[in-house]
Symmetry: none
Amino acid sequence: MEETIEQWMQDLLKLDSAGAKMTEKQIKILQSAIEVFAEKGYAASSTNEIAQRAGVAEGTIFRHYKTKKDLLLSIVAPAMTKLIAPFVLRGFNKVLDTQYASYDQLIRSMIENRIEFLKKHKNILKILIQEIPFHPELQESFQRDVLAKVLERLSKLVAQFQAQGTIIELPTATVVRLTVSTIVGYVLVRSFYGERPGAEWDDEREREETIAFIMRGLGVS
Amino acid sequence: MEETIEQWMQDLLKLDSAGAKMTEKQIKILQSAIEVFAEKGYAASSTNEIAQRAGVAEGTIFRHYKTKKDLLLSIVAPAMTKLIAPFVLRGFNKVLDTQYASYDQLIRSMIENRIEFLKKHKNILKILIQEIPFHPELQESFQRDVLAKVLERLSKLVAQFQAQGTIIELPTATVVRLTVSTIVGYVLVRSFYGERPGAEWDDEREREETIAFIMRGLGVS
Amino acid sequence: MEETIEQWMQDLLKLDSAGAKMTEKQIKILQSAIEVFAEKGYAASSTNEIAQRAGVAEGTIFRHYKTKKDLLLSIVAPAMTKLIAPFVLRGFNKVLDTQYASYDQLIRSMIENRIEFLKKHKNILKILIQEIPFHPELQESFQRDVLAKVLERLSKLVAQFQAQGTIIELPTATVVRLTVSTIVGYVLVRSFYGERPGAEWDDEREREETIAFIMRGLGVS
Amino acid sequence: MEETIEQWMQDLLKLDSAGAKMTEKQIKILQSAIEVFAEKGYAASSTNEIAQRAGVAEGTIFRHYKTKKDLLLSIVAPAMTKLIAPFVLRGFNKVLDTQYASYDQLIRSMIENRIEFLKKHKNILKILIQEIPFHPELQESFQRDVLAKVLERLSKLVAQFQAQGTIIELPTATVVRLTVSTIVGYVLVRSFYGERPGAEWDDEREREETIAFIMRGLGVS
DNA sequence: AATGAATGAGACTTCATTCAT
DNA sequence: CATGAATGAAGTCTCATTCAT
């Protein structure tokens, strides 16, 4: 856990809005805030608890973040612009360049790379998903910095495969929707059932069946 | 909107835990609570605002519901046991009995019936989805009263179609997962893009393509 | 002291902005707030101390006054519009009507009536004077509701005496200024020196000399 | 403005309680403190804002002044002992020596010299007046170092004129009171009305009428 | 049943002050 | 000397909940 956030901090450190280095306590505060927000939700989290978990005085939080909401935004906003969109898209340039890859390989790499990512950033993603509905500014930013970018890139990829004649001629948006919702469904169910001890979940098989399902649905024989 | 909740109230009225009739004020309180909870989230909602919107004194809320959490549960718990599971399953008995229906007709009817339902109970569903992660007792109840029931029924249906030889021989849980996640994806995207004025969303076509996608993925030719 | 404020409360009661009756606790809160504000100044007063002196919970203050500043304004604003201007002007209509009074009698009655008033409302006046410089909205209100009204009325009175030929032909504003500053000086010094035990302050004489000074300065022999 | 304070600093520099030279930062701190205290009042001023305006770290303030109150006193106390009393009295020795001056010339010179002074030290005077009521030690010091000295000197002057037979035989304290309150009234009104653009304030005339008023009130024809 | 004034615990936030660097 | 991160006490304010009417 520590390492996970450490690493994510490294990402953020280079990008701190003011460009300033963070003190150790500041990092602790962010870590605790992410934990607590994910656990209880933003509104039900108290700055007091965040401070305690971080081992700092409550006042220290407000030296670094003017308000509690500021603290939320300083976690969520960079997560969107610097973390999620880049990560989702990472590796796709390669695919765009090489003409060889097939659609099922694309999907397979999407899944494989991202599973790890999701586990690592589970808390931040949970916060993101929970809070977006209640903060219009986050909605806007999500729409602009994540959704739009991801969709545009995926659409291009899909168009390329359609040009190759390897996948079906539907509107690219529709192809993307069908693909993504199937994958998301797989990932969600997996994270529920797949990680319980003693659950009957043959991950290898489920994944391959999922990909095969998509390929039957979208591929051109 | 009023009518919607009115109608839902009728459902609840027969089922009030104590079996007692609700006063007009009590109904107003529930209506307002649903509104406010959906708008701001449970933790960020104040009983004061709920009382104001309901046009009652703050004390009145606590005459009917011992605590704020009680108020939440009195909305969400019956919604799960009396509303959602029954509604999702409604109409399936018919399918189970008649041997005629094909899988794509099943899916089509699932979609068509439920779209209206979702619109009507949007607020309650939003509360449900938002709050489940933070209330273990809700999770349990959801698991037991909704998920388990729905899955069991759907599994039987799927098994029936598999016995007919009209859909593919995968674990029923897998078939259900692939079907449901595709449909949920359709419904979500639809509710985002499909209801904006001027959006390019040909609902008829998207729905049919979605069903066709599932059938190619799961059907036996 | 209690009675003083009681009486002032009576004035305010009829005039509560919302027209609502005040509860006993609300009155206690106002009393304590006036005391504490006068003693320590608005900024250095804590709502905690006000609550303690009033014998209420701190939260109770904020049920009646949304913010601490609200509490200040609910004391000071009506004090200006409903108390000070009317009181300063009280009795002048009579003078305006009867042609008999002489300027020195006017001054004498101004002093005699007002001394009591000042003692009674000392605290509120202290707050007023202390806080006006820091609250632009108070400045404006003071200018409009007190200064302008008082000056207009006094100017008319002075003009009347000038028409009678009993006081000197200077701009009325100048006459008012000279008169008022002399009286204010008398009252201030009096309240400093005159009420210390053992002070050499022959109030009767000082007052008469002050009036005589003004009459020599402004009267027409 | 800068120069004003610079100049006042020069006065203070020679007189720093410890006799030590002030660093540039120390001077900046004092300047900012005077500004902020005058603007918002002592209690509502934050050391943080003072530090920011002074361009120093917050800690630096406390290296020079043990507490915030220390900072206030280091402005106000020397202002009283080294600035105000001396200035008010400046030039009076000459009058005491030469037997020629008349009372109206004394008043005129008091006004003319002091107007400039008031403008220059407006902020410090504002702080003084605002804070004296809340700090008993300031009251005492003001009484002892300013009031007593000024009154004593003025009393001697008045006595001298009375001996000359040029002003009326009242208690000297009374003469001083009447004179000073009239002048203060003039100065205050002047600073309100006289410096607004477009105000109808003929300063020359008002001043002369004020002096004439005093002379009629106190002079012996 | 309904009210709404009152409560007090606890929320967020500010701020003077300290101290290691 | 200067810094600024850190502190924790205290401040203002919110809110679920109670209770006399």
